[in-house]
Symmetry: C2
Amino acid sequence: MTRVYALANQKGGVGKTTTAVNVAAYLAAAGRRVLVVDSDPQANATTSMGVTVNSGAPSLYDVLIGGAPLESIIVASKRPRLDLAPSAPALAGAEVEMVGLRGREHLLQRALGPVLPRYDFVLLDCPPSLNLLTVNALTAARDGVIIPVQCEYLALEGLSRLLETIRLVQARLNPSLRIAGLVMTMYDARTNLSQQVVDEVRRHFPGEVFNTIIPRSVRLSEAPSYGECILNYAPYSSGATAYQALAEEILKKN
Amino acid sequence: MTRVYALANQKGGVGKTTTAVNVAAYLAAAGRRVLVVDSDPQANATTSMGVTVNSGAPSLYDVLIGGAPLESIIVASKRPRLDLAPSAPALAGAEVEMVGLRGREHLLQRALGPVLPRYDFVLLDCPPSLNLLTVNALTAARDGVIIPVQCEYLALEGLSRLLETIRLVQARLNPSLRIAGLVMTMYDARTNLSQQVVDEVRRHFPGEVFNTIIPRSVRLSEAPSYGECILNYAPYSSGATAYQALAEEILKKN
Ligand SMILES: Nc1ncnc2c1ncn2[C@@H]1O[C@H](COP(=O)(O)OP(=O)(O)OP(=O)(O)O)[C@@H](O)[C@H]1O
Ligand SMILES: Nc1ncnc2c1ncn2[C@@H]1O[C@H](COP(=O)(O)OP(=O)(O)OP(=O)(O)O)[C@@H](O)[C@H]1O
Ligand SMILES: [Mg+2]
Ligand SMILES: [Mg+2]
């Protein structure tokens, strides 16, 4: 049974894309067939996986607005068993264009249907907002939402709004939506702040925070400039071992 | 003549709020009268300035959607000569509600008109997207947009899209919109990546990058948890001296 997760948090720069791309790579390395869907107009997941962002090439825009089948835009990544449904800048305009479409919140869920049998995991990378693109991902995420939480004070602030949106989507669009887990990211052991934030999040979400904490590691921020996941770029770095451990936790979670 | 700047970049977590709040504090400390307008539903600028985010209290939502005068929501901050027009979670819904309003891109510009004479500087903090809230800020920003750019590879990617949006707003909504400057943020001297990104941005934007580079400093990320700007929280930290220098550069720019 294919597991579909959304990576969502409207707070910007918390590690949604980095988590989606690197967890996907380790799941594929563990023998699973994995699809990453980039539903952010910034197309950072597309770039991070080494695929050129080309405003003329087929992208998720053509699927959501043009009605093209999802498999017509899927491309292979550099790693075996890891595919990508790329984004493009045109997706920024999709928001307004989707508002008028019937079943506008279910567009991604419907597009995913025919390709699910080909994958064991689907990871949906979201933009930093609670807009229609993110709602589409939350509606399609039948196994839940993975919430990256940066170990910073301001990142705590937005969690209650995210939970409210999740509750709304659960009530109206996707009854099986739940929190698959919160992932603490960019942990800096040299500061007290990081540990304070981790403790606070564990207190508010008992039992829902992944054990694996992702440390701040410059290798993780360098890898996208080479179009590589951390497994290819710096497999022995602290960021790599953390994402490997997180992928293993997700595999065990079934 | 009041100077109005927008702090915008659709890439998330690059330091828009941190720059708006701390530059505002140093401009006020230099004797200027300053207003920060928080147009992000996350309300991070509101929290960072020590104002409680309260979904029932008057906020920018009441101004943009309810037509309330801007001065009815303005509150004083802890520092003299520094005021805030607070945000609230309700602003997240404003996007859809504004789409149908006449002159929807000019709502903030019109609301600012009557209060401008009371201030020397107005800083508009934007959410991490190129939506109607950000377009409103770009339309109101008659002195230009200050673009925080995180010293990370992925932060480079989105700049061309931001420039396109600025060009569109310039052509159709605010002919005086220009780039007031790019601010390099979260510079980490221990990595090569930061310097590479700085060099790249200076190459692409000759003469438009502020000399001041904001270093990564944990004090800057701790300050919001006390509702304090860096000037109050850690005035001798590297982050504080950098934002002081940036405020001086902005003062000289006229
Ligand atoms: N653990 C980490 N250590 C160091 N840098 C990191 C780490 N995780 C992510 N980064 C870097 O921090 C920045 C933000 O991460 P990322 O882009 O994955 O966040 P995001 O939540 O997807 O952002 P957005 O809200 O813009 O979509 C990127 O430049 C990325 O390379
Ligand atoms: N120079 C710095 N050094 C260390 N931490 C910083 C620095 N600047 C900002 N931060 C922290 O990094 C995080 C992101 O910064 P901030 O919230 O200001 O960015 P933003 O662009 O406003 O984010 P968003 O896109 O969500 O609005 C915050 O937790 C902030 O406290
Ligand atoms: Mg992202
Ligand atoms: Mg912000």
